[in-house]
Symmetry: C2
Subunit: 242 residues, 2 copies
């Protein structure tokens, strides 16, 4: 079971649709609506979802928040303004970690979002076991509804994702071997050296060290090195090797 | 200097506006546009920004991506589909950490986003020093443009944010002292005990242990305890203490 996203009295169909798209982007597919202003289904909402609804279980619509959360074990109430209720307030990643633990132990959890203009009202905030709050810019803090849903879904995704933080997508051109690199550097130094590139013998080591540093940082592949051999050959007037 | 968000040939004004709102929500305020389809400024865009543009430096508009990035030192190219270019691919948080380091060392960095329909084309991807990719649902991976901008801005925010992951917003009602708690438990046990709540003496320790567990988990405040004392008093027919 995944966390359920519950939009309480959402006003704009577009936001419902964009919220659904954002959920599914992050692998969440259970959405409930409480008394959507313009009803549901809603043409603008379906259009804004870019096809997400075709891949999600049907949205459930309820008259009251209380009905919508009746079968859930734990509720996170999202809130921009915190109203001095003595309940724990989670950041997005801490909430996702807590949700993950609860879901894995068999609990059904839900996240409540309020209407665009007002956010959750006190009567709905009261129903939450905990608050969920993003530490946005105090001078411009109000997130669009679908954007707030995205952040919750994204943190859920991240809590489960194991993608390497920095990776290479392709193994087509692995870095060259050190021998290929060394041979290239020796040739480069020779070809420029014999043509008078180094105006004094003193310069030579520092210039070569800088070139080595730059070219090794580039993690040149064997193909890159062949290309550079070709470039040197053409510049010195030799035919390129086939 | 903050990272610059560059939208390359964005189609819809709404997305430009929502992207600006998302940026400012997360404290970013430098946006550049490359050849926006419907021109800029654009009425729908300004409306979708919910006032963000009033608090941001003026958006700069360029004819080509190359012009837009000319003064930058390092470019992250966002891409859903990775096109087998041998460049490092960062997740959102790793990219934000890298941006933070670069910005703190005085570099001007920018993040490129492609058009809604296509994402960045190869000619723009080529200009990036690194790729930035969110590991979204492979069956429904395409993020809305403004949502993708939000995730980059949010990771930047998180890289700088020190909000406690789980906190209490209010100190109005700190947990009661252990003495207050203990006196309450003693009274509760007494009042229910003398009225025959424990059907056998054996039950008593287990029932009291469960009650203790629940009530201590609730982190009752001194005020909560006074309220419960009043509830017990009224239930046993005593007047409440003033």
């Amino acid at each position: 079971m995944q966390p359920i996203i519950i939009l309480v009295t959402p006003q704009l169909g577009e936001n419902i649709g964009m919220a659904a798209r954002a959920m599914l982007n992050c692998g969440l597919s259970h959405m409930r609506l409480v008394a959507p202003r313009d009803g549901w289904p809603n043409e603008k909402g379906i259009s804004a979802a870019s096809g997400a609804f075709d891949l999600m279980p049907q949205i459930q619509v309820f008259d009251t928040t209380s009905d919508a959360i009746a079968d859930c074990n734990f509720i996170y109430a999202t809130s921009g303004k915190l109203r001095h209720m003595a309940k724990p307030v989670y950041t997005g990643d801490a909430a996702a970690a807590d949700m993950k633990e609860r879901v894995e132990s068999g609990q059904k959890v839900a996240v409540l979002f309020g209407a665009e203009r007002t956010g959750l009202l006190n009567e709905d905030l009261m129903l939450g076991n905990a608050f969920l709050n993003f530490p946005t810019n105090p001078d411009f803090s109000s997130l669009n509804l679908s954007q707030a849903v995205l952040l919750v879904a994204y943190e859920w995704l991240k809590a489960h994702d194991e993608t390497a933080p920095r990776r290479y997508e392709t193994q087509e051109h692995p870095p060259a071997t050190m021998k290929e690199m060394e041979e290239f550097m020796v040739r480069l130094e020779h070809e420029i050296g014999t043509r008078g590139f180094f105006q004094s013998a003193d310069m030579r080591p520092a210039v070569m060290r800088n070139l080595q540093t730059m070219l090794r940082r580039a993690e040149m592949s064997a193909q890159d090195i062949r290309t550079f051999h070709g470039i040197i050959s053409i510049l010195i007037g030799k035919k390129q090797k086939p």
